[in-house]
Symmetry: C2
Subunit: 198 residues, 2 copies
């Protein structure tokens, strides 16, 4: 896989040991997470919206209503920051200060390209459904032309990107080793339940 160039915006400065610039790891985080948070400016102020995202090769995709205000900023060519966070654990240390979280996050900067070409757009939307349930794009009634027009699909190059990862137990100061309290990790996981038929 193509190596990732670190830029001023993606260099992890706080906790550099948690930094990860490995494409395979970054892709696994993007693929596991359902929700991303999109940031771009609207009238000069940063706005952050949740969205579904999915990946095809070296590009990240989002979709939404053409009328969405934040999408308008992105379409106008504003640099967008897309952040994906998986919370893996609550880390309880003996000292209040060293309480922490295990997590995997990805932060991507880029300009979005509207997917205009009809076959590409249909393929991209199919791939989104496949992320949620394999085979779904063939099972569901395909989008008609009106529905295709109401949906905007935007793709971003996965180039200016970094991940930050924390794993493992609490790291207390040596002098707190015998402090009389419990410590450890409470794992956090996301559970997808069985289908509740309509």
């Amino acid at each position: 896989m193509k190596p990732i160039d670190i830029t001023d915006r993606t260099r992890v400065r706080r906790g550099p040991k948690k930094a990860c610039y490995n494409r395979e790891t970054i892709y696994s985080i993007l693929d596991e997470a359902y929700v991303c948070h999109l940031g771009a400016t609207m009238h000069g102020t940063a706005a952050v919206q949740p969205n579904f995202h999915w990946r095809i090769g070296d590009r990240l995709y989002i979709h939404g209503s053409i009328k969405n205000g934040l999408f308008q900023s992105i379409i106008r060519g504003e640099t967008t920051c897309i952040t994906v966070t998986l919370l893996d654990g609550l880390v309880f240390a003996k000292s209040a200060f060293h309480h922490s979280a295990n997590f995997r996050s990805v932060m991507l900067y880029g300009k979005g390209d509207v997917v205009e070409e009809s076959e590409h757009k249909r393929f991209a939307l199919d791939q989104m459904l496949e992320k949620f349930s394999r085979g779904r794009s063939e099972e569901a009634r395909k989008p008609n032309d009106t529905e295709m027009k109401a949906t905007v699909v935007i793709s971003f190059p996965i180039e200016e990107v970094s991940a930050k990862i924390r794993t493992g137990g609490p790291i207390d100061d040596a002098e707190d080793a015998d402090y009389p309290t419990w410590s450890g990790i409470k794992p956090v996981s996301t559970h997808i339940g069985d289908l509740q038929p309509d």
Copy 2:
């Protein structure tokens, strides 16, 4: 509870029926979620970072390293957008187009106030620990002065805020009612596991 004034930035335009400006509901979402996504501009571009948040009364709190770049923007007085998202379900419709998600999200705009006063700051950090485990602020070794100085606590008024909520099953077009595929909801939930002692 004080009613919420709707502003240009917090009025939900896309899917206005999903809008919620009820303080009690908004607080329940903020209290249930562990992770928020903070957006502010850095060098003119929006940046989005995950963070823990917690609420005390009518204010939302975050904490972090004084050296964090985004925190510097917030401390300089930049309007910050804080978004919290709980994904509750994947909604499978008969048509590709009407696939959706059940979710509860909150979007808050505001300027942060650094909590300088020592007792207030200690109380606020205690309340964060209490959110993760009741009684923890008394059990853990309290922060010393050096630790207090390394941590910045910022609070935001919960004033310019709105929520967006989707619940229920898929809403298909009438003509798709007999389309031969399954539909329904797969519930999504977050699970906090038992302590794995250190």
